[in-house]
């Protein structure tokens, strides 16, 4: 994993050094298909695939985090609108921005605009990290400001610096909804030239972009015009690719084979941001309160087979609850045995738990909108070991209500994403700070678990990481399943899509 990241970083650096000279490799128009149709192009908006791929292109941010876990102190952040960031103390940072930032309508950006942007975003609440960490900001000069955080959590300042779009206050407050959504005053390297609501966005490289040297990766202008088209149906995206209507699209794993043999297309594989894992309900309401039952289930199925139940084997099996993406992941885990499929061992645990084959029934809570194939594969495998699996599939909204109800399920399948550290992923699932008296996402109340977690957070030494990892595996509280591999298919003249943190940076793609 680290090698891949290093390569990516090198590529990033290579690109920044190429800079404006990359006009040679610039393409004129690239059409990209995405599957999200409820996007917004204003500076602040709800999460979605389109915003993930375009926000940094249209709107400038103070900094950019080029890979998962990039830290400010290590100098790993790219400076975009900020000239420099100085730490005053754990919760206070001074920022100096460039003095020549201009948006696409000619308005100059000052520190006051930056302060306005942060305050506005905190008020609107679209980016939860800003809501959680941002306390206040004030301008100390025309181009200098101070940011105050609520606490000094690791990763907080990075999120703060990178997640808030900057826009001109006077323009935003004076613009109508229509103007914000169809022709905003963009501060990033591209300006929005056309928007068809829920259908397409056209972005054109700004000739007058204020920064001319040391461009960050997200500031590249390798493409003159990027057109984003929303095609919600996966099969229609494949058809659009084949038809030549789009040049790049994310294609479902089951459809990729059509493009694999074809020289006219390039395929870029990358890990899905979300990794799947299984939670056991360890409260007294469930049969899974018994460790033997949990282990019986754990050894009775195989993650790869489950993945294949979804129609393709494009995925990476997990060896910990969290995926192997962050810098604090212990690589040795990938070589150890992690709940392999072993029907004999499963049978033993089942007997230890006191159930004869066929007696035990467990309910698994899943989302109805997800493909049901993997769960059916799991059901078949469990049946072989004499465990009856009842699949309770609910629509997303309903499922979310049931998730908090310890009487509603025995196992739940869920997914989460990693933004910087494995420990943060673990915190999301296990930290009692998040779940109060319930203990963990699986209603587990275990003081030792919490101690080990806190220790790992404080010091990400291999020893602490191992301790927590082993403890969770020993008690089989949760099991990591797999991370799907997604594919982006492009026409052959696009050689690289410049994936950063699992999203392509569209303006930085390179051509043949």
């Amino acid at each position: 994993m680290k090698h891949f990241l290093a390569l990516l970083l090198a590529l990033m650096m290579a690109l920044t050094m190429v800079g404006p000279a990359s006009a040679e490799t610039a393409g004129s128009t690239v059409t990209v298909a995405v599957d999200d149709d409820s996007f917004t192009v204003g500076p602040w908006g709800g999460d979605g695939a389109v915003r993930d791929w375009t926000e940094a292109t249209m709107w400038t941010h103070l900094c950019n985090r080029p890979f998962i876990g990039a830290a400010l102190e290590a100098g790993e952040l790219e400076m975009v609108a900020a000239k420099s960031v100085t730490k005053v103390d754990d919760t206070t940072y001074d920022v100096e921005i460039f003095d020549n930032i201009v948006d696409s309508k000619g308005n100059a950006i000052t520190a006051a605009d930056v302060v306005f942007s942060y305050t506005k975003l905190a008020e609107l609440g679209y980016v939860s990290e800003i809501g959680v960490y941002f306390d206040s900001a004030e301008a100390t000069g025309d181009y200098t400001l101070t940011l105050h955080l609520k606490n000094g959590t690791e990763g907080a300042i990075e999120e703060m610096l990178c997640r808030c779009s900057i826009a001109n206050q006077a323009w935003y407050e004076g613009a109508s909804q229509d103007e914000i959504e169809s022709s905003p005053a963009c501060t990033g390297p591209y300006a929005v030239t056309a928007v068809e609501t829920a259908s397409s966005i056209t972005m054109t490289a700004r000739q007058d972009y204020w920064k001319t040297e040391n461009l960050a990766s997200v500031e590249q202008q390798n493409v003159d015009t990027i057109i984003i088209r929303c095609i919600t149906e996966a099969s229609m995206r494949s058809i659009a690719l084949e038809n030549g209507e789009v040049d790049m699209a994310e294609v479902a794993a089951t459809d990729v084979s059509r493009f694999e043999e074809n020289d006219a297309y390039n395929i870029t594989n990358y890990n899905n941001a979300m990794s799947q894992y299984l939670i056991f309900n360890t409260s007294e309401n469930s049969v899974c309160a018994d460790e033997n039952v949990r282990k019986a289930i754990a050894y009775a199925f195989d993650s790869m087979t489950m993945l294949m139940g979804g129609g393709s084997d494009a995925g990476i099996v997990s060896y910990d609850v969290a995926p192997n993406l962050a810098p604090d992941y212990v690589q040795e885990w990938d070589t150890e045995e992690y709940f392999p499929w072993n029907p004999e061992v499963a049978a033993q645990y089942l007997a230890d738990a006191g159930y004869a084959p066929g007696e035990l029934t467990v309910r698994i809570l899943v989302t109805a909108q997800a493909p049901q194939g993997p769960y059916q594969a799991m059901q078949a495998m469990l049946m072989q070991s004499g465990i009856n699996l009842e699949i309770c599939a609910y629509d997303r909204a309903l499922r979310q209500t049931y998730q908090d109800d310890p009487t509603a399920w025995d196992i739940a399948e869920y997914s989460d994403s990693i933004s910087d550290f494995t420990t943060h992923f673990w915190n999301d699932l296990f930290s009692e700070n998040n779940y109060g008296e319930n203990g963990t996402q699986g209603f587990t109340v275990d003081p030792t678990l919490q101690e080990l977690l806190v220790a790992a957070n404080a010091d990400r030494s291999e020893e602490n990481m191992n301790a927590f990892h082993d403890y969770v595996a020993e008690h089989c509280y949760m099991i990591g399943l797999y991370t799907e591999i997604r594919s982006i298919v492009t026409t052959s003249n696009i050689t690289d899509v410049c994936l950063q943190k699992l999203n392509p940076v569209l303006n930085a793609m390179t051509f043949a």
Binding site: D37, S38, T40, G42, W44, G45, G46, D47, E123, L124, G125, Y126, S128, G131, V132, Q177, D178, E181, E196, T197, A198, S199, S200, R229, C230, I231, T232, E233, S235, M236, I239, A240, E242, N243, E245, M274, Q369, D395, R396, A397, L398, Q400, T401, Y402, Y414, S415, D416, S417, D428, L429, N433, N434, Y435, G436, Q441
Partner: protein, 322 residues
Amino acid sequence: MVKYVIKRLLIMIPLLLAVGIIMFTLMNFVPGDPAQLALGSGVHTQEEIELKREAMGLNRPFVVRLGEYVGNIFLHFDFGTSLTSGTEIKYELMTRFPYTFYIAVFSIILTIVVGLPLGIYTAVHANSFGDKVSLFTTLLFDCMPSFWTALLLVLLFSLKLGWLPSSGASGWKHFILPVIANSLGGLAGFTRQVRASMLEVIRSDYITTARSKGLKENTVVYNHALPNALIPILTVIGMRFGSMLGGATIVEVVFSIPGIGQYLVNAINGRDYNACTGGIIFIAFTFSVIMLLTDLLYAWVDPRIKAQYASSSKRKKVAANA
């Protein structure tokens, strides 16, 4: 007549009010938390969720939210902002409605242009070979699920032949396949309705009178029979058009046309209370207007109905004076 129209328009107000209140209430008591849904998949801490709820204004009591929302719609025509995306709902609806409208209008036109002559032909030549072929073909299309038809059309016309684009909404070419896919299913029902109405009318005495005057058969069918057969046909057209205006969701999803259907489905799945309620009130409004127009069309086609509308207000006057 004018009084009739005004009366109908006035009745729409309590109707829409009731729809709005019921929708909002139902959505609120259906399980699912819009804040959590807006945060997306992945694990979210209670703190995050609470912050989001506050940002969305969801931590206020239900009655307050209901009053505020309904009041805004009816007093200021302000549909509020979407809970998930923060955009103005009125803006979203207004930008998406034209697409749904185009599809609906052209689908209805296609249905009428194909179905009306076909229905008349099969009525005039009832039980002939042509009648049976027509029945078979229309039923065939009726039985095929519309997304399957849509995909087939795309595979043929877009992929294989390359004549038409496969998705999107940025030009008239993009609407051909969606309109066809949308109309095919309803064609069977419509043709049968036309056929049945015409059959009933064509055996009437006044048709014999018309023939005995020496009129051309075409004149008899189109000038005498058809206007009398129109009432049930107009009803079908009205209802179909009204429901299409609510969004032909399947067609919109397959062809990625940003219409109201898609918007509403996403809003419901995301438990976006405001967008749902606003969207449904909007659809109820358009549907009521279409129903009113259909009723007015009845009056234009059949003078007896026109007399009925006009007399219902006269009768009250007479009773009051008596």
